[in-house]
């Protein structure tokens, strides 16, 4: 392939990626409810979003679950990565394999398995079941992100710290976390977006009293294309964009 064909090929695929989203964003500013024609610029749809109290509480639900789930998943995932790298223990290979399997396993399989678990335990579906499920599906992603970074470190660094009298806890606090914070932060951000975007698992494990953004969007979308949804989706897209940007900058900085 020559240079021009290559550029053209990339351009077509990027167009495929961004054209639909671009259209969505443009129409979220269109001053008309149903028309495809451009009726002038407006921020009305965004104002409507802001005044929708129901949506506000749903957004708050999503944010709180996202922040909590990402934080717990990051702690668990980081510990997992560190243990996999530093310790010899029984079932280490199994743990490695399980993390991998959890990443590739289809969401729906995890979703119904958790639903069955919660119904066996007679746990009421809502905030807690949602939180526990989100932690569970985010954790392997953190573990993998952090592990790929920690594996690049010189193993002697930990022995040196030990030789100088550091306990495992000190090593975690003073050596591992300061060295790996970019990966840990990236893991948190990834978890947060995963939690914020998840439809399939949340669909099964949350109850009617605890609605969250992706499910709200899902039910709105089923009713058809509307400028308010365009606006909401644009906001979500902008948020994702911001998060990816931070994650990429952070990861690149310390390479």
């Amino acid at each position: 392939m020559n240079r021009l064909t290559r550029i053209a090929y990339l351009a077509v695929v990027y167009l495929f990626f961004y054209f639909p989203i671009g259209v969505l964003i443009v129409y979220s500013f269109n001053n008309a409810s149903y028309s495809l024609l451009w009726h002038g610029f407006t921020l009305n749809w965004y104002k409507e979003l802001l005044s929708d109290t129901d949506l506000q509480s749903v957004a708050w639900h999503s944010l709180s679950v996202g922040i909590l789930a990402a934080t717990i998943a990051t702690m668990l995932g980081t510990l997992t990565a560190v243990s996999l790298y530093r310790y010899r223990f029984k079932g280490k290979k199994l743990l490695h394999g399980m993390i991998f399997v959890m990443i590739v396993s289809p969401d729906i399989v995890m979703a119904i398995s958790l639903l069955i678990l919660f119904s066996t335990l007679k746990a009421p579906l809502g905030f807690w079941t949602l939180l526990l499920s989100h932690v569970t599906f985010c954790m392997p992603f953190v573990a993998v992100t952090v592990y790929s970074r920690i594996a690049g470190l010189d193993k002697n660094i930990f022995e040196a710290a030990k030789d100088l009298g550091a306990s495992d806890f000190t090593i975690l606090l003073r050596v591992i976390i300061p060295l790996l914070w970019p990966a840990i932060l990236a893991g948190w951000l990834l978890s947060f977006t995963l939690s914020l975007d998840d439809v399939i698992i949340s669909f099964f494990v949350t109850g009617p009293d605890f609605d969250i953004l992706p499910l709200k969007i899902f039910s709105m979308v089923k009713l058809g294309v509307k400028p308010e949804i365009n606006a909401l989706c644009s906001v979500m897209f902008a948020l994702t964009l911001l998060i990816v940007l931070i994650a990429q900058l952070v990861l690149r900085k310390k390479q």
């Binding site: 660094i157 040196a160 030990k162 030789d163 306990s167 050596v175």
Partner: protein, 364 residues
């Protein structure tokens, strides 16, 4: 009271899939510079890790300062390690790296400050306090690693091939610096390397290891000039090996036949007649003459020059004897003997001064 700082008694180590050390016995004296020398995989690094406490022996015991140190974790042994490639904490500056050990012990801030400055002055890095490791040269990183290790005032400093990542010239400089530092500190250094030149030039004593066993312990001069076995002789320096048949022997002398010639050699190790031995001669102990320079060729071999390698202060020759055997000979330039420009294919006479050879028994 003995002045052995470390005593290693009958230590063996095997990992699940393979043994690495067999029955190691070794005494390390207080204040000496000891080198563990051997090819990679000979177990030298494992022996070091047993002393530092990162591994525990499968059997046998290690005594440090008279006390059995089995089960004592690395940081409670008065031993510190300078790691291969240094293992400096990349996110901390020089000061924090060096202060790390003291801070782990919870030592007061003032004292930390004072001791870090002191030790950094000693390694001449007191102006680099706030540099990060990646802003330092290889030699400077090495000095930080040493400062970080000695600040805990260990009885023994373990060095795991610390010079292997430096280039040739810097390595030479660092060898001298390390040696000076050891004298200055007055503590025992145990140095691991696979570089025989490094081992010979720095150590008080060298421990030559092969396949998980100690082959020889001695001063650099001893292991080079009087190797205990072929393994040692072959690993340290180049050597020419002659098959030797003993014709007659008494307490003092041996009558032997080498390459069809008769020699009378000193019998240092009580060899008997009829035994088959090896006679070892270093290339620099062989002398090479043109036919015109010699009269008595009774104890000389006739050879043909096959290769001439000019090395500046020496000329290395590769010679072939009548029997087909190849010999390496190193000739030094000196004012008496200007005839060093040998030609390929030239016929020459080779011989060594009796007494410079080493005679070893045939090994099973």
């Amino acid at each position: 009271m003995s002045n052995n700082l470390i005593e290693i008694r009958g230590v063996s180590k095997h990992f699940p899939d393979h043994p690495v050390l067999h029955n190691i016995n070794l005494e390390i004296r207080n204040g000496e510079f000891l080198t563990l020398l051997g090819p990679s995989g000979c177990g030298k690094t494992t022996l070091l890790r047993l002393i530092s406490g990162f591994e525990e022996p499968s059997s046998g015991a290690i005594y440090l300062d008279g006390k059995d140190i089995a089960g004592i974790p690395p940081h409670q042994r008065h031993v510190n390690t300078v790691f291969q490639s240094y293992a400096l904490f990349p996110h901390m500056d020089v000061f924090d790296n060096v202060a790390f050990g003291l801070r782990c012990k919870g030592i007061a801030k003032d004292e930390v400050e004072q001791r870090v400055h002191e030790v950094l002055r000693m390694v001449k890095l007191d102006t680099f306090l706030r540099r990060k490791p990646h802003q330092l040269s290889g030699g400077q990183q090495q000095r930080v690693a040493i400062a970080r290790a000695v600040i805990n005032k260990p009885l023994v400093l373990l060095l795991d091939e610390p010079l292997s990542s430096l280039d040739y010239r810097l390595r030479k400089t660092m060898q001298i610096e390390l040696k000076q530092l050891q004298k200055q500190l007055g503590i025992t250094f145990i140095f691991v390397t696979h570089d025989q030149e490094e081992a010979l030039s720095m150590s008080d004593r060298v421990v030559v290891m092969h396949d998980g066993e100690i082959q020889q312990i001695g001063t650099p001069r001893q292991v080079y000039e009087e190797p205990d076995n072929l393994q040692v002789a072959k690993f340290i320096g180049e050597v020419n090996i002659f098959e030797t048949k003993v014709l007659a022997a008494d307490d003092k002398q041996l009558q032997v036949e080498i390459e069809g010639k008769l020699f009378t050699l000193k019998n240092r190790r009580k060899y008997k007649a009829e035994q088959t031995l090896y006679t070892l001669v270093r290339p620099e102990d062989l002398q090479v003459w043109s036919p015109s320079e010699v009269n008595d060729t009774e104890t000389m071999f006739s050879a043909v020059v096959e290769e001439v390698i000019y090395k500046g202060c020496t000329v290395d020759l590769m010679l072939r004897l009548m029997s087909g055997k190849r010999l390496a000979a190193t000739q030094f330039f000196n004012e008496d003997d200007e005839k060093l420009d040998f030609l390929l294919g030239e016929a020459v006479w080779v011989h060594w001064i009796p007494g410079w050879e080493v005679i070893l028994p045939h090994e099973a």
